[in-house]
Symmetry: C2
Subunit: 246 residues, 2 copies
Protein backbone atom coordinates (compact mmCIF):
# COMPACT_ATOMS: atom_id res chain seq x y z
CA UNK A 1 0.00 0.00 0.00
CA UNK A 2 1.36 3.39 -1.06
CA UNK A 3 0.10 6.94 -0.97
CA UNK A 4 -2.59 7.39 -3.58
CA UNK A 5 -3.44 3.70 -3.89
CA UNK A 6 -7.15 3.11 -4.43
CA UNK A 7 -8.03 1.09 -1.34
CA UNK A 8 -11.70 0.46 -2.24
CA UNK A 9 -10.66 -0.76 -5.69
CA UNK A 10 -8.13 -3.11 -4.10
CA UNK A 11 -10.77 -4.42 -1.69
CA UNK A 12 -13.18 -5.04 -4.55
CA UNK A 13 -10.45 -6.69 -6.61
CA UNK A 14 -9.78 -9.06 -3.71
CA UNK A 15 -12.84 -10.95 -4.90
CA UNK A 16 -15.18 -9.70 -2.23
CA UNK A 17 -18.71 -9.71 -3.44
CA UNK A 18 -20.40 -7.37 -1.05
CA UNK A 19 -23.89 -8.06 0.17
CA UNK A 20 -26.37 -5.81 1.84
CA UNK A 21 -25.55 -5.58 5.53
CA UNK A 22 -21.89 -6.55 5.20
CA UNK A 23 -19.35 -4.83 7.43
CA UNK A 24 -15.75 -4.31 6.36
CA UNK A 25 -13.23 -3.88 9.13
CA UNK A 26 -10.11 -2.27 7.71
CA UNK A 27 -6.80 -1.99 9.55
CA UNK A 28 -5.81 1.62 10.16
CA UNK A 29 -2.37 1.06 8.74
CA UNK A 30 -3.46 0.51 5.16
CA UNK A 31 -5.82 3.47 5.32
CA UNK A 32 -3.02 5.70 6.62
CA UNK A 33 -0.61 4.49 3.97
CA UNK A 34 -3.09 5.02 1.15
CA UNK A 35 -3.61 8.55 2.48
CA UNK A 36 0.12 9.23 2.67
CA UNK A 37 0.09 9.51 6.45
CA UNK A 38 3.69 8.30 6.76
CA UNK A 39 6.82 10.13 7.87
CA UNK A 40 10.44 9.20 7.34
CA UNK A 41 12.29 9.63 10.62
CA UNK A 42 15.17 11.11 8.63
CA UNK A 43 12.96 14.12 7.87
CA UNK A 44 12.07 14.83 11.51
CA UNK A 45 14.00 17.34 13.64
CA UNK A 46 13.28 16.62 17.32
CA UNK A 47 12.74 19.51 19.70
CA UNK A 48 14.05 19.70 23.25
CA UNK A 49 10.96 18.11 24.83
CA UNK A 50 11.19 15.12 22.51
CA UNK A 51 14.91 14.78 23.17
CA UNK A 52 14.34 14.81 26.93
CA UNK A 53 11.49 12.27 26.82
CA UNK A 54 13.40 10.03 24.42
CA UNK A 55 16.32 9.96 26.83
CA UNK A 56 14.05 8.78 29.65
CA UNK A 57 12.68 6.02 27.43
CA UNK A 58 15.58 4.89 25.30
CA UNK A 59 13.55 5.79 22.21
CA UNK A 60 14.40 7.59 18.99
CA UNK A 61 13.84 11.32 19.69
CA UNK A 62 12.52 11.79 16.16
CA UNK A 63 9.82 9.20 16.83
CA UNK A 64 8.94 10.95 20.09
CA UNK A 65 8.67 14.24 18.19
CA UNK A 66 6.16 12.65 15.80
CA UNK A 67 4.17 11.39 18.79
CA UNK A 68 4.11 14.86 20.34
CA UNK A 69 3.10 16.39 16.99
CA UNK A 70 0.11 14.02 16.84
CA UNK A 71 -0.93 14.68 20.45
CA UNK A 72 -3.28 17.21 21.94
CA UNK A 73 -2.14 16.15 25.43
CA UNK A 74 0.13 13.64 27.11
CA UNK A 75 -2.02 11.73 29.63
CA UNK A 76 0.66 9.55 31.27
CA UNK A 77 4.31 8.69 30.79
CA UNK A 78 5.82 5.39 31.86
CA UNK A 79 6.72 1.79 31.06
CA UNK A 80 8.25 2.79 27.74
CA UNK A 81 5.15 4.45 26.36
CA UNK A 82 3.56 7.85 26.17
CA UNK A 83 -0.20 7.57 26.70
CA UNK A 84 -1.48 10.45 24.62
CA UNK A 85 -4.72 12.07 23.66
CA UNK A 86 -4.56 12.39 19.90
CA UNK A 87 -5.73 15.47 18.05
CA UNK A 88 -8.92 13.53 17.24
CA UNK A 89 -9.54 12.89 20.94
CA UNK A 90 -8.56 9.21 21.16
CA UNK A 91 -6.37 8.15 24.07
CA UNK A 92 -3.76 5.55 23.19
CA UNK A 93 -0.08 4.68 23.38
CA UNK A 94 2.25 6.89 21.35
CA UNK A 95 -0.71 8.73 19.78
CA UNK A 96 -1.04 5.80 17.37
CA UNK A 97 2.36 6.49 15.77
CA UNK A 98 3.98 3.17 14.86
CA UNK A 99 7.03 1.88 13.06
CA UNK A 100 5.84 -1.71 12.58
CA UNK A 101 4.08 -2.83 9.40
CA UNK A 102 5.09 0.43 7.73
CA UNK A 103 6.82 -1.44 4.93
CA UNK A 104 9.94 0.71 5.08
CA UNK A 105 12.69 0.85 7.63
CA UNK A 106 12.72 4.19 9.44
CA UNK A 107 9.23 5.17 8.32
CA UNK A 108 6.49 5.81 10.86
CA UNK A 109 2.79 5.46 10.13
CA UNK A 110 0.47 8.06 11.67
CA UNK A 111 -3.27 7.74 12.24
CA UNK A 112 -5.47 9.15 9.46
CA UNK A 113 -6.18 12.85 9.88
CA UNK A 114 -9.94 12.21 10.09
CA UNK A 115 -10.63 8.46 10.34
CA UNK A 116 -14.41 8.91 10.17
CA UNK A 117 -14.03 10.86 6.93
CA UNK A 118 -11.78 8.05 5.65
CA UNK A 119 -14.46 5.51 6.54
CA UNK A 120 -17.14 7.57 4.79
CA UNK A 121 -15.04 7.86 1.63
CA UNK A 122 -14.31 4.13 1.57
CA UNK A 123 -17.95 3.33 2.22
CA UNK A 124 -19.11 5.53 -0.63
CA UNK A 125 -16.60 4.00 -3.02
CA UNK A 126 -17.45 0.43 -1.99
CA UNK A 127 -21.18 1.07 -2.26
CA UNK A 128 -20.72 2.45 -5.76
CA UNK A 129 -18.65 -0.55 -6.79
CA UNK A 130 -21.13 -2.96 -5.20
CA UNK A 131 -23.85 -1.47 -7.35
CA UNK A 132 -21.79 -2.18 -10.44
CA UNK A 133 -21.27 -5.85 -9.65
CA UNK A 134 -23.57 -7.55 -12.18
CA UNK A 135 -23.80 -10.91 -10.42
CA UNK A 136 -24.22 -9.70 -6.88
CA UNK A 137 -27.76 -10.97 -6.82
CA UNK A 138 -29.04 -8.06 -4.81
CA UNK A 139 -31.02 -5.03 -5.69
CA UNK A 140 -28.42 -2.32 -5.99
CA UNK A 141 -30.70 0.03 -4.06
CA UNK A 142 -30.35 -2.22 -1.03
CA UNK A 143 -26.57 -2.54 -0.84
CA UNK A 144 -25.71 -0.89 2.42
CA UNK A 145 -22.29 -1.76 3.79
CA UNK A 146 -20.72 -0.63 7.03
CA UNK A 147 -17.07 0.35 7.35
CA UNK A 148 -14.95 0.24 10.50
CA UNK A 149 -11.33 1.40 10.61
CA UNK A 150 -9.57 -0.44 13.41
CA UNK A 151 -6.43 -0.08 15.44
CA UNK A 152 -4.98 -2.05 18.35
CA UNK A 153 -5.14 -0.16 21.65
CA UNK A 154 -3.91 -1.17 25.07
CA UNK A 155 -6.06 -0.68 28.14
CA UNK A 156 -5.53 0.32 31.74
CA UNK A 157 -5.94 -2.54 34.23
CA UNK A 158 -5.87 -5.31 31.62
CA UNK A 159 -2.98 -6.80 29.71
CA UNK A 160 -2.97 -7.19 25.96
CA UNK A 161 -4.28 -5.04 23.17
CA UNK A 162 -7.72 -5.29 21.63
CA UNK A 163 -8.80 -3.81 18.33
CA UNK A 164 -11.09 -0.80 18.55
CA UNK A 165 -12.78 1.45 16.02
CA UNK A 166 -11.04 4.74 15.26
CA UNK A 167 -13.25 5.41 12.26
CA UNK A 168 -16.68 4.22 11.20
CA UNK A 169 -19.39 4.89 8.63
CA UNK A 170 -22.76 3.24 8.22
CA UNK A 171 -22.50 1.57 11.64
CA UNK A 172 -24.52 1.96 14.82
CA UNK A 173 -21.33 2.58 16.77
CA UNK A 174 -23.07 2.81 20.15
CA UNK A 175 -26.18 0.75 20.77
CA UNK A 176 -28.32 2.67 23.21
CA UNK A 177 -30.14 0.63 25.84
CA UNK A 178 -30.84 3.50 28.17
CA UNK A 179 -34.31 3.14 29.59
CA UNK A 180 -34.76 -0.31 28.07
CA UNK A 181 -35.43 -3.32 30.23
CA UNK A 182 -33.96 -6.74 30.76
CA UNK A 183 -35.80 -10.00 30.13
CA UNK A 184 -37.30 -9.63 33.63
CA UNK A 185 -38.48 -6.07 33.03
CA UNK A 186 -35.79 -4.44 35.15
CA UNK A 187 -33.92 -1.40 33.85
CA UNK A 188 -30.52 -2.34 32.44
CA UNK A 189 -27.17 -1.34 33.86
CA UNK A 190 -25.29 -1.61 30.58
CA UNK A 191 -26.73 1.45 28.99
CA UNK A 192 -24.62 1.82 25.88
CA UNK A 193 -22.77 -0.91 24.03
CA UNK A 194 -19.70 -0.08 21.96
CA UNK A 195 -20.74 -2.07 18.90
CA UNK A 196 -18.08 -0.66 16.58
CA UNK A 197 -15.33 -1.61 19.02
CA UNK A 198 -16.75 -5.12 19.34
CA UNK A 199 -16.86 -5.44 15.54
CA UNK A 200 -13.19 -4.44 15.41
CA UNK A 201 -12.32 -6.96 18.13
CA UNK A 202 -14.26 -9.74 16.41
CA UNK A 203 -12.50 -9.05 13.12
CA UNK A 204 -9.08 -9.18 14.71
CA UNK A 205 -9.70 -12.79 15.74
CA UNK A 206 -9.58 -14.02 12.16
CA UNK A 207 -6.24 -12.56 11.14
CA UNK A 208 -2.71 -12.82 12.39
CA UNK A 209 -0.50 -9.78 12.89
CA UNK A 210 2.05 -11.08 10.39
CA UNK A 211 -0.42 -12.18 7.75
CA UNK A 212 -0.68 -8.99 5.75
CA UNK A 213 -4.48 -9.27 5.79
CA UNK A 214 -5.70 -5.73 6.33
CA UNK A 215 -9.41 -6.20 5.62
CA UNK A 216 -11.92 -8.50 7.28
CA UNK A 217 -15.46 -9.03 6.02
CA UNK A 218 -17.99 -9.45 8.84
CA UNK A 219 -21.22 -11.02 7.73
CA UNK A 220 -24.30 -11.39 9.93
CA UNK A 221 -24.00 -8.03 11.66
CA UNK A 222 -26.55 -6.35 9.41
CA UNK A 223 -28.63 -5.21 12.36
CA UNK A 224 -25.87 -2.69 13.11
CA UNK A 225 -25.55 -1.38 9.54
CA UNK A 226 -27.32 1.89 8.88
CA UNK A 227 -28.44 3.71 5.77
CA UNK A 228 -26.81 6.93 6.88
CA UNK A 229 -23.08 7.34 7.54
CA UNK A 230 -23.91 8.28 11.12
CA UNK A 231 -21.70 9.91 13.74
CA UNK A 232 -18.73 7.60 13.25
CA UNK A 233 -16.19 6.54 15.85
CA UNK A 234 -16.10 10.10 17.13
CA UNK A 235 -19.20 9.09 19.11
CA UNK A 236 -17.05 6.61 21.06
CA UNK A 237 -14.81 9.30 22.53
CA UNK A 238 -15.69 9.82 26.17
CA UNK A 239 -15.94 13.55 26.85
CA UNK A 240 -13.31 14.80 29.28
CA UNK A 241 -15.95 15.87 31.80
CA UNK A 242 -17.32 12.31 31.90
CA UNK A 243 -13.88 10.75 32.24
CA UNK A 244 -12.48 9.82 35.64
CA UNK A 245 -9.03 9.00 34.23
CA UNK A 246 -7.93 12.18 32.50
CA UNK B 1 -31.22 -19.98 36.57
CA UNK B 2 -31.13 -20.72 40.29
CA UNK B 3 -28.48 -21.75 42.78
CA UNK B 4 -27.54 -25.37 42.19
CA UNK B 5 -28.79 -25.49 38.60
CA UNK B 6 -26.58 -27.63 36.36
CA UNK B 7 -25.40 -25.07 33.82
CA UNK B 8 -23.41 -27.48 31.62
CA UNK B 9 -26.41 -29.82 31.44
CA UNK B 10 -28.64 -26.92 30.44
CA UNK B 11 -26.15 -25.87 27.75
CA UNK B 12 -26.03 -29.39 26.38
CA UNK B 13 -29.81 -29.65 26.50
CA UNK B 14 -30.04 -26.47 24.44
CA UNK B 15 -29.25 -28.68 21.45
CA UNK B 16 -25.64 -27.65 21.11
CA UNK B 17 -23.61 -30.41 19.58
CA UNK B 18 -20.11 -29.44 20.52
CA UNK B 19 -17.27 -29.93 18.10
CA UNK B 20 -13.56 -29.98 18.67
CA UNK B 21 -12.30 -26.40 18.83
CA UNK B 22 -15.63 -24.83 19.79
CA UNK B 23 -15.62 -21.93 22.22
CA UNK B 24 -18.56 -21.24 24.53
CA UNK B 25 -18.90 -17.70 25.80
CA UNK B 26 -21.12 -17.69 28.86
CA UNK B 27 -22.55 -14.58 30.47
CA UNK B 28 -21.27 -14.10 34.01
CA UNK B 29 -24.76 -13.63 35.33
CA UNK B 30 -25.94 -17.18 34.76
CA UNK B 31 -22.72 -18.58 36.18
CA UNK B 32 -23.12 -16.45 39.30
CA UNK B 33 -26.75 -17.45 39.71
CA UNK B 34 -26.01 -21.15 39.31
CA UNK B 35 -23.32 -20.74 41.98
CA UNK B 36 -25.66 -18.91 44.35
CA UNK B 37 -23.72 -15.66 44.13
CA UNK B 38 -26.79 -13.54 44.77
CA UNK B 39 -27.70 -11.37 47.72
CA UNK B 40 -31.08 -9.98 48.72
CA UNK B 41 -30.69 -6.31 49.59
CA UNK B 42 -33.09 -6.90 52.49
CA UNK B 43 -30.40 -9.04 54.14
CA UNK B 44 -27.65 -6.38 53.91
CA UNK B 45 -26.90 -3.98 56.77
CA UNK B 46 -24.94 -1.01 55.37
CA UNK B 47 -22.03 0.38 57.36
CA UNK B 48 -21.21 4.09 57.74
CA UNK B 49 -18.91 4.23 54.69
CA UNK B 50 -21.61 2.73 52.48
CA UNK B 51 -24.19 5.11 53.88
CA UNK B 52 -21.95 8.12 53.19
CA UNK B 53 -21.09 7.03 49.64
CA UNK B 54 -24.71 6.17 48.89
CA UNK B 55 -25.74 9.65 49.94
CA UNK B 56 -23.25 11.19 47.49
CA UNK B 57 -24.61 9.00 44.69
CA UNK B 58 -28.31 8.70 45.34
CA UNK B 59 -27.87 4.92 45.52
CA UNK B 60 -29.20 2.27 47.85
CA UNK B 61 -26.70 2.08 50.77
CA UNK B 62 -27.19 -1.69 50.94
CA UNK B 63 -26.09 -2.01 47.32
CA UNK B 64 -23.04 0.17 48.05
CA UNK B 65 -22.22 -2.08 51.00
CA UNK B 66 -22.25 -5.12 48.69
CA UNK B 67 -19.93 -3.27 46.30
CA UNK B 68 -17.52 -2.46 49.11
CA UNK B 69 -17.64 -6.06 50.35
CA UNK B 70 -16.63 -7.27 46.89
CA UNK B 71 -13.81 -4.72 46.52
CA UNK B 72 -10.15 -4.91 47.42
CA UNK B 73 -9.82 -1.18 46.64
CA UNK B 74 -11.89 1.71 45.35
CA UNK B 75 -9.99 3.17 42.37
CA UNK B 76 -12.21 6.17 41.57
CA UNK B 77 -15.54 7.59 42.62
CA UNK B 78 -17.71 9.71 40.36
CA UNK B 79 -20.44 9.97 37.74
CA UNK B 80 -22.70 7.66 39.71
CA UNK B 81 -20.27 4.74 39.85
CA UNK B 82 -17.59 3.36 42.07
CA UNK B 83 -14.69 2.09 39.97
CA UNK B 84 -13.38 -0.75 42.10
CA UNK B 85 -10.68 -3.34 42.06
CA UNK B 86 -12.46 -6.59 42.87
CA UNK B 87 -11.02 -9.19 45.19
CA UNK B 88 -9.97 -11.12 42.05
CA UNK B 89 -8.03 -8.11 40.77
CA UNK B 90 -10.39 -6.93 38.03
CA UNK B 91 -11.10 -3.21 37.81
CA UNK B 92 -14.70 -2.38 36.91
CA UNK B 93 -17.72 -0.35 37.89
CA UNK B 94 -19.38 -1.32 41.16
CA UNK B 95 -17.09 -4.35 41.52
CA UNK B 96 -19.37 -6.19 39.12
CA UNK B 97 -22.35 -6.06 41.51
CA UNK B 98 -25.52 -5.61 39.51
CA UNK B 99 -29.26 -5.55 40.04
CA UNK B 100 -30.29 -6.03 36.40
CA UNK B 101 -31.05 -9.46 34.95
CA UNK B 102 -31.06 -10.91 38.47
CA UNK B 103 -34.56 -12.25 37.99
CA UNK B 104 -35.80 -10.95 41.33
CA UNK B 105 -36.54 -7.45 42.49
CA UNK B 106 -34.13 -6.35 45.20
CA UNK B 107 -31.63 -9.11 44.51
CA UNK B 108 -28.08 -8.29 43.47
CA UNK B 109 -25.85 -10.62 41.48
CA UNK B 110 -22.16 -10.74 42.45
CA UNK B 111 -19.28 -11.98 40.31
CA UNK B 112 -18.32 -15.63 40.80
CA UNK B 113 -15.84 -16.13 43.63
CA UNK B 114 -13.25 -17.63 41.25
CA UNK B 115 -14.40 -17.20 37.64
CA UNK B 116 -11.47 -19.19 36.24
CA UNK B 117 -12.38 -22.12 38.47
CA UNK B 118 -15.99 -21.76 37.27
CA UNK B 119 -14.78 -21.89 33.67
CA UNK B 120 -12.68 -24.96 34.36
CA UNK B 121 -15.61 -26.76 35.99
CA UNK B 122 -17.93 -25.92 33.10
CA UNK B 123 -15.30 -26.98 30.59
CA UNK B 124 -14.77 -30.31 32.28
CA UNK B 125 -18.49 -30.99 32.43
CA UNK B 126 -19.05 -29.98 28.80
CA UNK B 127 -16.13 -32.07 27.59
CA UNK B 128 -17.49 -35.10 29.42
CA UNK B 129 -20.93 -34.57 27.93
CA UNK B 130 -19.49 -34.03 24.47
CA UNK B 131 -17.81 -37.40 24.71
CA UNK B 132 -21.14 -39.01 25.49
CA UNK B 133 -22.92 -37.55 22.48
CA UNK B 134 -23.27 -40.58 20.23
CA UNK B 135 -23.88 -38.69 16.99
CA UNK B 136 -21.26 -35.98 17.41
CA UNK B 137 -19.25 -37.48 14.60
CA UNK B 138 -15.94 -36.73 16.25
CA UNK B 139 -13.42 -38.83 18.01
CA UNK B 140 -14.18 -38.22 21.67
CA UNK B 141 -10.45 -37.96 22.36
CA UNK B 142 -10.33 -34.86 20.20
CA UNK B 143 -13.19 -32.86 21.71
CA UNK B 144 -11.46 -29.87 23.19
CA UNK B 145 -13.74 -26.93 23.92
CA UNK B 146 -12.82 -23.53 25.26
CA UNK B 147 -14.90 -21.66 27.84
CA UNK B 148 -15.01 -17.92 28.39
CA UNK B 149 -17.09 -16.28 31.11
CA UNK B 150 -17.91 -12.75 30.03
CA UNK B 151 -19.09 -9.54 31.62
CA UNK B 152 -19.69 -6.04 30.27
CA UNK B 153 -17.11 -3.52 31.45
CA UNK B 154 -16.85 0.18 30.77
CA UNK B 155 -13.54 1.74 29.80
CA UNK B 156 -11.76 4.98 30.51
CA UNK B 157 -11.60 7.37 27.56
CA UNK B 158 -14.20 5.55 25.47
CA UNK B 159 -17.97 5.46 25.79
CA UNK B 160 -19.96 2.26 25.88
CA UNK B 161 -19.32 -1.09 27.45
CA UNK B 162 -17.62 -4.03 25.76
CA UNK B 163 -17.70 -7.61 26.91
CA UNK B 164 -14.47 -8.94 28.39
CA UNK B 165 -13.38 -12.25 29.85
CA UNK B 166 -13.49 -12.57 33.62
CA UNK B 167 -12.98 -16.32 33.50
CA UNK B 168 -11.53 -18.70 30.94
CA UNK B 169 -10.43 -22.30 30.52
CA UNK B 170 -8.91 -24.01 27.51
CA UNK B 171 -8.26 -20.68 25.80
CA UNK B 172 -5.06 -18.93 24.79
CA UNK B 173 -6.17 -15.81 26.64
CA UNK B 174 -3.16 -13.72 25.62
CA UNK B 175 -1.54 -14.35 22.26
CA UNK B 176 2.12 -13.53 22.63
CA UNK B 177 3.78 -11.83 19.67
CA UNK B 178 6.79 -10.53 21.55
CA UNK B 179 9.86 -10.91 19.43
CA UNK B 180 7.83 -11.93 16.37
CA UNK B 181 7.95 -9.94 13.18
CA UNK B 182 5.50 -8.28 10.86
CA UNK B 183 5.02 -9.21 7.21
CA UNK B 184 7.97 -6.92 6.40
CA UNK B 185 10.26 -8.53 9.01
CA UNK B 186 10.04 -5.66 11.46
CA UNK B 187 9.47 -6.34 15.15
CA UNK B 188 5.85 -5.83 16.12
CA UNK B 189 4.53 -3.16 18.44
CA UNK B 190 1.42 -5.08 19.49
CA UNK B 191 3.16 -7.60 21.65
CA UNK B 192 0.28 -9.35 23.35
CA UNK B 193 -3.27 -9.66 22.06
CA UNK B 194 -6.15 -10.14 24.50
CA UNK B 195 -7.79 -13.02 22.63
CA UNK B 196 -10.22 -13.97 25.40
CA UNK B 197 -11.52 -10.41 25.61
CA UNK B 198 -11.98 -10.30 21.85
CA UNK B 199 -13.87 -13.60 21.94
CA UNK B 200 -16.17 -12.13 24.60
CA UNK B 201 -16.69 -9.00 22.49
CA UNK B 202 -17.40 -11.00 19.35
CA UNK B 203 -19.95 -13.15 21.18
CA UNK B 204 -21.78 -10.12 22.52
CA UNK B 205 -22.53 -9.00 18.96
CA UNK B 206 -24.92 -11.88 18.37
CA UNK B 207 -27.19 -11.41 21.36
CA UNK B 208 -29.31 -8.62 22.69
CA UNK B 209 -29.26 -7.58 26.34
CA UNK B 210 -32.95 -8.36 26.72
CA UNK B 211 -32.92 -11.66 24.87
CA UNK B 212 -32.19 -13.99 27.77
CA UNK B 213 -29.50 -15.70 25.68
CA UNK B 214 -26.68 -16.32 28.12
CA UNK B 215 -24.49 -18.62 26.01
CA UNK B 216 -22.92 -18.02 22.61
CA UNK B 217 -21.17 -20.72 20.61
CA UNK B 218 -18.14 -19.40 18.70
CA UNK B 219 -17.02 -21.67 15.90
CA UNK B 220 -13.85 -21.15 13.86
CA UNK B 221 -11.66 -19.99 16.73
CA UNK B 222 -10.07 -23.40 17.23
CA UNK B 223 -6.58 -21.97 16.89
CA UNK B 224 -7.08 -20.37 20.31
CA UNK B 225 -8.41 -23.52 22.01
CA UNK B 226 -5.85 -25.40 24.08
CA UNK B 227 -5.66 -28.90 25.49
CA UNK B 228 -4.83 -27.64 28.96
CA UNK B 229 -7.06 -25.35 31.00
CA UNK B 230 -4.28 -22.77 31.02
CA UNK B 231 -3.90 -19.67 33.19
CA UNK B 232 -7.43 -18.36 32.67
CA UNK B 233 -8.56 -14.76 32.64
CA UNK B 234 -6.33 -14.11 35.64
CA UNK B 235 -3.56 -13.70 33.04
CA UNK B 236 -5.39 -10.64 31.71
CA UNK B 237 -5.07 -8.69 34.95
CA UNK B 238 -2.43 -6.02 34.56
CA UNK B 239 -0.15 -6.08 37.59
CA UNK B 240 -0.32 -2.91 39.66
CA UNK B 241 3.33 -2.12 39.03
CA UNK B 242 2.72 -2.17 35.28
CA UNK B 243 -0.40 -0.03 35.53
CA UNK B 244 -0.25 3.74 35.00
CA UNK B 245 -3.87 4.26 36.10
CA UNK B 246 -4.03 2.82 39.63
Amino acid sequence: MRAGDDLPALITAAALELRDGDVLVIAQKVVSKAEGRVRALADVVPGPKAVALAGDFDKDPRLVQLVLDESAAVVRVGHGVLICETRHGFVCANAGVDLSNSGDEGVAVLLPLDPDASARRIRAALSAKAELTPDSGVNSDLVRVGVVISDSFGRPWRLGVTDVAIGAAGIEVLEDWRGRRDVHGRELRATEIAIADQLAAAADLVRAKDSGEPVVLVRGAERFVTSEDGPGAAALRRPRDLDLFR
